[in-house]
Structures are given as C-alpha cells and as structure tokens.
C-alpha cells in the first residue's frame, strides 16, 4: 500500500484508480475494517462530517448577498479526500458535489502541486465546465485541508451566480453560442492565499460583471464555508488520529458504493430499460443569434439503461444529437453531476451519501454529442435545458423498476425544465444591474404512482425547491409583481396528474432600460413525459407582454386589472384588458429593452402524469377545479369527469354521469384506434418518403451520422433498405 503522506498527489490519485480497477473496490478497500470494529463510531463520525457540511452551508448563506443563495439555497458544500472524492456533503444543489470532484482531480492531474502549488490557506476557483462544473454561473471554490503539513482532504463550495457577465445578462447566458460569449471564466485558478481572496481577482470580477456584489460576496461566503469545514475536519483528526482519518474517509466512500449496489438490487429489477425525450428550440428570426447557429433545433434524447445482476446502473446516450453552436451543450462533468443528483434523490435516501454512489454507475456519453462535445469551445451556459429532460427520462426508467419491484411509493414521473428569466439594464435605483430570477426553482413535479405530483415545489437540480419571496425579488429588480398564480392544467393528465406550475406577471417599474431574456424553452415539442398511460405536461408556454400599457391609467381609474394572461389559448386576458402593443412570443424571449409601464408574464412548467386519465378520482378533480389546478373544460374533455354546481356554486362531481361518460369515451377509443401493425405499415410509407419537417429530417440525419446502432434500429423497425439515408448537410 502506498504511503499516503509521502507521495505526491498525482501518484496517489493514479494509485487509487489502479486499486479500484484491480479490486473493484474504492481505493482497494476490500474490507470495511473500521466499520466492523465499531459500527457506531463509524456512523457517528460520518454524521459529524455531514453536520459540518450542513452547518457551513447555512452559515455561508447568511454572508451571501444573492437572493439565489439566501432565498432559494443555490449552494452546496462538501468534504473530499486528497484525491478529490466526496466523503460527505450538505443539502442544496447536490449536482455539484461530483463536478467539484472533477475539478480537484483536474488540478491534480495537471500538476498543480508543482505549479501553482497547493499550500495551506490557498483558495482555488473554477467555473469552466470542461474542467468540472455544469455551466458558467456555477462557480466553485475549494481549499486544501492540511494536518501537520500533510494534505488530508479538501473542502469545497459551489454557488450558482445570478450574473456571469456574458453576452446576455444573468447567469444562464442563453445567447452564448461559443464559450467566448459566456461571460467571466475562472479556469482552475488560484484566487486566494492565506485564507484571503486576492485583490486583483476581486477587481477582475468587479470590472467584468454587471452585478459583482452577488459573485464577490458569494466568493466570501464560499471561502468562509470552506474554512469552517477545514477547521472542523482538523479538529476531528486531532481527536481520532491521522491514520484513522485516512482509512475512515476511504471506507466511507466504499461503504457508499456498496450501499448503492445493494439498494439497486433491493428496489429494482435487472434488465434493459428504454425511454426518450425531445427538446425543440426556436431561434429563427430572433435578434442576436449568430450565423453559426441553426435557426431551429430538434434534439432527440434516447436513453437505454441497464441494471446488471450486480446492481450496477449503466446509462447509455447513444443515438442522441451532436453538440451545436448554442448554449445547451453539456460536458462529462455536467452529465456525471446530473446522474449524481438524481441518485441522491431517488435511491440514496439513507446511509452514507457520497461519491461511492456515483462509482456504482457507468455512463456512455458518445464523443461529439451534446453530452460530450469534441470541441471545448462549445458553450454550456444553459446546459440544464437538455440535462433536465434527460435525467427526467432516467427518473422514469428507474421508476419502472420500482413499480416492477413493488416499491410504488418511490415511483416518480420525473423532473422537467423550468424556464428561467435573466435580466439586466438599469435598476430601479438608477444603477447598472443584472440578475437571474430564480423563482424557477419551484416547478411542478411529475406525478407519483400513488398520488398527484407536487405543485410548484420541485426541480431536479435542487431537492430543496423554493421560489423565494416576492418582496425579496422586488428589491433586486425594476419590476413589481401584479400576479403569481397557478397555471391550470399545467400538470400532465393522468390517473394522478403532474404537479402544476405557476406563472408570474410583472409591471416594469422605475426603469427605462430592462432587458429580459429567457432560456430552457422547449415550445415546439414535449421535453417531458408521462408514465404508465399518463400524458406529458404541456410544452413551454409562450410569453405574453404588453408594451406601453395603460395600466397606470387603469389603476388611477380603479378599474380591474388582469393578473395573468388567462386560460384562453387564443385570446389572452391581457388583450381583453390592456391597451398597448400586445406581444405573443415563443421562447426564448429576447427582444429590445422594456421600460416602465410594460407588462411581462412568464410561466414555468408542470410535471408529467401517471396512469390512465379515465381512472382519475372525480371528487379530487372537483377540488382541483375549485382551486384552479384544472379547468372545467379539461375535467370533462380530458378526464371524462362531469361536474355540476352544488348549492353554493362550487363544482361537485356527478359520479353517475361520469361513469356513463367514461364508458362512452372507452368505446370511442376502440372505435378510433387501429392495430399497431396497421399503423406501422402506413407510417412506414411516410418514413420511406422522408416526409418530415426539415428539423425532423435533420434530427434523423444527425443521429444516423453519429450512431450506427440508432441507424440499425431505425431501419430495422421500419423495414428500410440498407442504403436509406437523409441527404443534406448538418
């Protein structure tokens, strides 16, 4: 066994990887000796480490000035081994626990011990996704932990910054089409020494960001959290001894790996699971998009998941689309992070949660696709746009396993995109500002297999979902809320409906220059799905805005205002209520600046449904209609539920009429449906004729160029000739 203190980090990392390859166990830990000796001590010490993390994060949130971190909790911290493997972590945006691991390993592999050197009190920062993060606003800081001159671990912290200084304001820089327009990059940089951030680094931040107070105070918050964890770990080592710590930290990770395998064997069924989703994005004719980019994109995201006899989860993205000149590409770090955060929510709800879980998985992200670009100039500023739908599929695949095994209470139709608003310009105080509005961190969740999804209370990247208080957001932007309400029918229909989303409506106030930009908008296709007969949640809603509205005059006259665009998809309540230039825009929203008196609304997404709609409870549906989660029209037309009014005018289910209506609907289903074999024969003619929209044809052409397996499966399914191809250039 290698001397853990005398050898350089690079050697230690290589040795650790070699031992894993040789033994199949983390760092060659084939026996959990310390756990066996004293299981209570073992568990207690891990609980202590976790407490250090949770406490450090909470303390840091009070230092931050950013409503994203303070209000919504867009932060996570973790403690790592010297080789960069996570031992313990806090709650929060756990996607970054493993991306930080990649960052630490990158520094080790790139000789940072020699240059620029790794010393006690150093602070390293990174937001380069090809080194180890998800997107440019996810800025991470790590500090080494030395004990008596020996590097014994790392403490790390990540905050999602609300402003990154990119071509468009905010953090998710939707207009970026190459990394050069994404904003301020800090590439594995030593940004501090002796526990102090360098002044020249702070000056760089202040000169290159629209709202440096968020980034700079978040840096201080993260450094404080790291120092707090470092000192706690040092104190712990002084109590248990260095040798014990070095063995213990490794055993924690091996225990996490074994626990993940055991949990997969306990909760699922071995076999092959398949699913897919899509993402459709429209930028044709929108200002600012460079000639490099395609006008519109359609991405397919097929996933094949194998659960092996051992309990290992293997994910395969073969068949998906190439990376592109847009901001939605992802890096291996982001893909790993997505896997990690999903596992922490769905399988690691007990025991030691750390990088061990990730080690019990494998992922195939084909080189050249959006999951693993072969060009490191690719932009990743809004990679969540594709990541969230992809890992929503993963959640549905896992859930089918839970259902097969009988753990129906864990089945969950999955996460969805929650389109975000970025903004910048002149603030209500007269100065320059920029901000990402993070109320998007509270979308509707997919349904469960035993109940409806969570309304306005879930996003995949942060299980501690929170939309933040209106008053806090209003302090930070030149807009005031005139509405924040549930979007009826925004959950996918099913026996259990998906959770509903909300929408906000704002009056632009006290500014003559407010740029609003939105991202993560799949308006042309569903980027989510249902399960076991449930329907997908609706596609992203289009934006409604009114420029130069008469709202002030209406308010003066005490006339009623419209607080949402309403439920008529053809004519909005804004059009009925306000004078002014009516805007109806498919996302992403990017347009000329807004000013005082304009009205803007933005809707988030609901989750997919579960089970057959005709099995939905009529009583629960009446309650949904009464409370604005469903419209009466949907209750009858989609669910076959007949409602009447009770004596006080509230909706009440007419059970007998519902039973009769549903019997008719079942008959109608069979009258209309055709055998699948018949449909395939007819549809094959369309496929042979390549009778598709240009975006669809391009999607097939790209998938076939990258994936022989996709090509074979496509041709086999439709009975196509070997030379079948889509002509044209990508």
């Amino acid at each position: 066994m290698l001397d853990r203190t005398a050898n350089p980090l690079q050697t230690r990392l290589l040795e650790s990887e070699r031992l894993m390859d040789e033994t199949g166990c983390y760092d060659g830990i084939t026996e959990l000796r310390l756990r066996k000796q004293d299981p209570l001590k073992f568990e207690t010490l891990h609980t202590k480490l976790r407490a250090y993390c949770v406490s450090a994060r909470e303390m840091a949130r009070r230092i931050s000035a950013s409503p994203g971190v303070r209000e919504v909790g867009e932060m996570v911290v973790a403690i790592y081994t010297p080789e960069g493997d996570a031992i313990a972590l806090s709650n929060g945006i756990m996607v970054h626990v493993h991306t930080m691991s990649r960052f630490i390993k990158w520094m080790i592999k790139n000789g940072y011990e020699q240059d620029p050197g790794i010393r006690d009190g150093d602070i390293f920062a990174n937001n380069d996704a090809f080194i180890g993060t998800v997107q440019v606003p996810d800025v991470m800081d790590v500090v080494p932990i030395f004990y008596d001159g020996t590097l014994v671990g790392w403490a790390g912290a990540v905050c999602h910054e609300l402003e990154a200084g990119g071509i468009t304001p905010g953090g998710d820089v939707c207009l970026a089409q190459e990394r050069f327009t994404e904003g301020l990059f800090v590439c594995a940089e030593k940004v501090g020494q002796n526990d102090e951030l360098r002044r020249d680094y702070i000056i760089r931040c202040e000169r290159n960001l629209r709202m440096p107070i968020y980034w700079v105070l978040d840096e201080k918050a993260k450094v404080a959290a790291c120092i707090d964890m470092r000192e706690s770990v040092k104190q712990l080592i002084s109590e248990i001894g260095l040798d014990y710590w070095q063995r213990l930290s490794k055993e924690f990770i091996e225990e996490g790996r074994r626990a993940q395998l055991a949990r997969t064997r306990q909760l699922t069924v071995p076999g092959i699971y398949r699913g897919h989703t899509f993402y459709g994005h429209v930028t044709e004719g929108k200002p600012g998009f460079q000639p490099l980019a395609d006008p519109n994109w359609l991405y397919n995201i097929p996933i094949e998941m194998e659960i092996t006899a051992e309990g290992k989860i293997r994910m395969d993205f073969d068949g998906t689309q190439p990376w592109g000149y847009h901001s939605m590409n992802c890096t291996p770090a982001g893909m790993d992070g997505g896997m990690f955060v999903t596992l922490t929510q769905h399988m690691n709800f007990e025991g030691l949660v750390n990088d061990g879980a990730w080690m019990a998985t494998e992922i195939n992200i084909p080189h050249g696709t959006w999951t693993n670009p072969d060009n490191e100039m690719a932009a990743t500023a809004t990679s969540w746009a594709l990541l969230l739908p992809a890992y929503g599929v993963f959640q549905r695949l896992l859930s089918r396993g839970f259902i097969a095994r009988g753990f129906v209470e864990e089945a969950f139709v999955g996460q969805v995109n929650s389109p975000m608003i970025e903004m910048g310009g002149t603030s209500q105080y007269g100065g320059q500002f920029g901000m990402a509005h993070f109320e998007c961190a509270a979308a509707g969740s997919g349904a469960l297999a035993i109940k409806d999804g969570l309304d306005t209370a879930y996003v995949g990247w942060n299980p501690e979902s929170d939309m933040g208080n209106i008053e806090i957001w209003e302090q930070n932007m030149p807009m005031v809320y005139i509405g924040r309400s549930i979007v009826p029918n925004s959950g996918g229909a099913g026996k259990y409906r998906g959770g509903c989303a909300f929408m906000s409506t704002w009056l632009i106030n006290k500014t003559d220059h407010l740029r609003l930009v939105t991202s993560e908008h799949s308006s042309r296709v569903f980027d989510n799905g249902g399960l076991c007969g449930g329907y997908p949640a609706p596609t992203c809603e289009k934006h409604h805005a009114v420029r130069g509205s008469d709202i002030f005059a209406k308010a003066e006259r005490r006339e009623p205002l419209a607080h949402t665009p309403g439920t008529d998809p053809i004519t909005s309540d804004f059009e009925r209520t306000y004078q002014g230039e009516q805007i109806f825009e498919e996302g992403p929203y990017i347009t000329r600046p807004h000013k005082t008196g304009d009205i803007f609304s933005h809707a988030y997404n609901g989750g997919g449904g579960f089970g057959d709609v005709l099995e939905r409870d009529p009583i629960k549906t009446a309650w949904d209609v009464e409370n604005g989660f469903l419209t009466r029209e949907a209750a009858e037309r989609v669910f076959g539920i007949i409602l009447k009014d009770d004596a006080e005018g509230y909706p009440q289910a007419d059970v007998d009429a519902t039973v009769a209506r549903r019997a008719e609907m079942r008959k109608a289903r069979l009258a209309k449906a055709v055998p699948v074999s018949e449909w395939i024969s007819k549809e094959a003619e369309r496929v042979k004729a390549r009778d598709f929209a240009p975006e669809v044809a391009k999607m097939y052409r790209s998938a076939m160029q990258l994936s022989p397996r996709f090509t074979k499966e496509f041709k086999d399914f439709w009975g196509l000739d070997a030379d079948y191809a889509f002509s044209g250039e990508n």
């Binding site: 076999g271 092959i272 899509f278 709800f349 109940k451 042309r524 809603e541 037309r637 989609v638 069979l670």
Partner: protein
C-alpha cells in the same frame, strides 16, 4: 427491517393509504418481503388465474400461462410472449393535428404537430390506456422494458422460476 401487512400494501398500491402513513413508509427502511406481498395483492385484483410473475406497468403483467410467459392486461387480454414488445400487439391512436392535441391540452399552448405527435397505446379489449409516447414523427416505437426475469428470480429473489407452463416460440 420494516414489515407491513398485505392490507397496508394493498392500500399503498391503490393510493388510498393515508398520507402520513405513506410518508412514514417512504421514510423508513424498506421492507424486504415487499415483492411477494405486492404480487399477492395484484393477483387478488385480477380476474385471471395465471400466476403474475412481474408487473411491467400499472395494469400490465408478465404471467405464466397456458400460452407460455406472456404480457397480460389486467382485464386478461394477452399481448403475447413477454420478450416481444407488447405495444406491437396493442391498438394505437396518434394525435398529430392541432385539433386532436387540443383535446388533451384544451387551455395550453400546443406542440407543433410537424415536430411531435402523441401515441396512445390501448388494450384492444378493455380500452385501458397503458402507455403514451411523445415522439417526433417517424420515431420507432420504444420497447420500454426487457426484464431479466429468470436472473431476477434466481439471483435477486433466491427463488428460481420453474419451467414455463408452456414454451413460446
């Protein structure tokens, strides 16, 4: 380790267990005897006698039967050999026009039917909607789940399956 009565599992599966109790089950260690209690609950629910070996959907089960191991709807309809994609033996309705999509999304913005369609897979006998696919036109139908049935019983449950009642081709 936790253990629950068959009645509790039945109510859990039916979605009628009170939320506080469901929540406690979600938070507790998992019950290792769940699978066979679950199968027993499902077996009580169906009208056919063929033993259920594995659920593959909410009302879709792999069963041992006189036809061999087949995928069956809860109503008893057989979709054939469980190793073949049951969807290919279903009946389908495709929503690929604004009008047909509007029936499901009456008050929302719609996808572009040129880019995306909804495929509904029904049981040809009872019209139960077993699965919905949202896919681009021309996208092959997905085979959602191919369980390692024999390996599951042998290696994970420790109760190897006997020979099928009848071998299928």
């Amino acid at each position: 380790m936790s253990e629950y009565s068959k009645d509790v599992i039945r109510e859990l599966v039916e979605g009628t267990l009170p939320w506080p109790q469901t929540r406690r089950i979600m938070s507790a260690y998992k019950d290792d005897d769940r699978f066979f209690k679950y199968i027993s609950v499902l077996q009580d629910r169906v009208s056919f006698d063929d033993p259920i070996l594995l659920p593959v959907g909410e009302r879709l089960f792999i069963c041992d039967s006189g036809e061999g191991r087949v995928t069956r709807c809860e109503c008893g309809h057989s979709f054939g050999d469980y190793r073949r994609n049951w969807k290919l033996a279903a009946v389908i309705n495709v929503r690929n026009t604004e009008g047909s999509l509007r029936d499901i999304y009456p008050n929302s913005d719609l996808p572009d039917p040129e880019w995306m369609e909804i495929r509904e897979f029904f049981c040809p006998e009872c019209a139960h909607l077993h699965e919905v696919e949202a896919a681009a036109p021309g996208y092959p139908i997905v085979h959602d789940f191919q369980p390692d049935l024999e390996g599951f019983y042998r290696d994970w449950l420790g109760k190897p399956l006997g020979a099928p009642l009848k071998e299928t081709a």
